[in-house]
Each structure stands twice: as C-alpha cells, then as structure tokens.
Symmetry: C2
Subunit: 148 residues, 2 copies
DNA sequence: CTAGTAAACGATAATTATTATCGTTCGTCA
DNA sequence: TGACGAACGATAATAATTATCGTTTACTAG
C-alpha cells in the first residue's frame, strides 16, 4: 500500500506535517471521508464510510485516529464527552468550564461570562428551552503540568 | 419500607407531584443525596452515595431515576450526551442546536445566536480555547409529534 | 383500612461503546 | 536500501448503559 502523488495527497501531507502526524493511507481516507460528511458522525458511522474504500481497516484504527485528530485540532468533538453521563441539580443559571486535557468541570456564573446571546428567531421553528455554554480550555493545574 | 412523614418528606412529595412522579423511598434518597453533591457526579458516583443509605438499591434503579429526573427537569445533564462520541471537521465558527427529545444536532451560525459572551477574566487562571454553545430545546419534528 | 392495579424495584443478563494488547506491516530518514 | 519507531489489524477486555422479568410497593377506590 502506497500513497499516490496527486494534488490532494500533497495537501494532505502538508496538513499532517502541520499537525505533527505521519501521513498514512488510512488517515488520508479518514480525512477525505470526513470532508464528505457535513453532519456530526459517530466513530461507527465514519468507520462504515471508510470501510467502503479500505475494506480491511480496523475499527480500532478509526477510533485511534479520530482521537489523534481531535487532540491535534483537525477534528473537534461536538459536545464534551466525559466517558459517562454527568448530572447536577437544576438550580440557578450557570455554565461550565471544561478542561480539554483532564476533562474537569467547573461551574461558572452566567454573569461572569459577560454578555449573553440574545434569544432570537432560530432556524426551523426550533423551540428553545435553554442555553448550555461550555468554555473549553486548559485548567490551571494542567497548565502547570505542561504539554500533553 | 415506608415513607416517614417529616417536613422534608412532605416537600419531596410536593416536588414529585409537581413533576408527575410517584414518590418512592429510593427517589427521595436519590434526591437528597444529589443535594449534598454540588459537583457533576456520574451515575456510579450517585449510586455509591445512595447505597450507603439503601444498601439493597440496584444500580439500574439509580439509572432509571436519573433519566426520569432529567426528563422531568429535576436534574439536568451537564453536557449533552449522545450515546457515542460525535465529531466534525474543525472549520468555521458555529454552534449547535440539540433537540432534548430526539437528540438531533443541527448547526447554527455564530451570528444567528445574537450577542456572544465577551471573553473575560475567568476564575482560577483558566486559559480559554473556545466556546461551545448548545441551544437546547425541541426541534420542529418533535413539536409535531407532541408530548413525550 | 384493605384489595386491586399499575408502576417501581432488584437482580442480572445483554448490549453498546470504547480501550488495551500484541504480533505484523508501513513510513521516515539516514 | 535498511533500520527503527510508529501505525495497523485482529480481537480480547473493559466500561457504560439498557433490557428483561419476577417480586414488591404506592396510590386509588371502596
């Protein structure tokens, strides 16, 4: 298995170089497939698509590369994923700061966020219940620990 | 097993009545335990605490009641949970509308949200990477389907 | 206060999602 | 081209969640 040398390939190799990734055929197909999936696919859905072009690919490879891509900023996860459901009492209005490194969740008061989005007419007759804002970044502890 | 008739119990029964739930001992303890957990506990963590007061309780009961409480608005989930990881290409700035009924995710442009939160000094030296805003509500399709 | 009935419970099997392991193959660089 | 670490594929293992089902409980009417 080898990489072709088309224009698309060249730019994919650049993308990998920019993000410190080695360029493999699997990663290229995964990336190209993602470009054809405008929604918010799950790993299984991505796997199904990639499998059409690389029938021998392993689901584990898809998972590993999705995580790598997210880590390096090529992909992002749609809502923060904490491994398990997290709940809280539905009391006063507040939002969350989530550490993208250690996944720790801290409350933040709505007023500390500054100006809030105004409730407007939203597309498609969507009936708004509430906003949930995640401020994603690196917590103080992980900043000290340096580098991921 | 029976319910005591303390003041706390009376208000818990009211809470259940308000949310259309039958008042059971397990639910009362679950609710009281949640009041002592200010963070963002997982079902397992809640289970561990509840088990101290009701050693015979089943993990399944904790899951079932957490879901019920979330459904009826007594609890809320910290980040939307889609059953599996969801990813998207990290392209232009946008956020998401999430249907709390069918969990469908739709993109929404940042400008369509109205005013955005201003980046301010955040508590604890948290270094912000980005905001992720979920507009939670009921999508048009689920509004037609009426009532959950 | 007691019986009837639907809802809730507990135990546990089953399912889903994700991660770890490990022997083989590939990509990079000298 | 050859060495070596990274990535891959297969698959076992783990973690999280849900389904099933027989028993018990809460609510209502009498």
């Amino acid at each position: 298995m080898y990489l072709s040398s088309s224009v698309e390939t060249r730019s994919f190799r650049e993308l990998c170089a920019d993000h410190g990734l080695t360029a493999t055929h699997q990663r290229q197909v995964l990336y190209e497939v993602m470009q054809t999936m405008p929604g918010h696919p799950s790993p299984e859905e991505v796997y199904a698509r990639v499998k059409k072009r690389i029938p021998a690919i392993s689901l584990a490879t898809v998972y590993k590369n999705i995580h790598l891509f997210v880590e390096r900023g090529v992909l992002k996860e749609v809502s923060m994923h904490h491994g398990s459901l997290r709940v809280e009492l539905n009391s006063h209005l507040h939002h969350h700061m989530v550490c993208s490194h250690c996944k720790a969740i801290t409350d933040i008061e709505e007023k500390d966020l500054g100006v809030l989005p105004a409730l407007q007419r939203l597309p498609g007759g969507f009936q708004v219940e509430r906003y949930a804002i995640d401020v994603i970044g690196i917590c103080a502890a992980c900043q000290k620990t340096k580098r991921s």
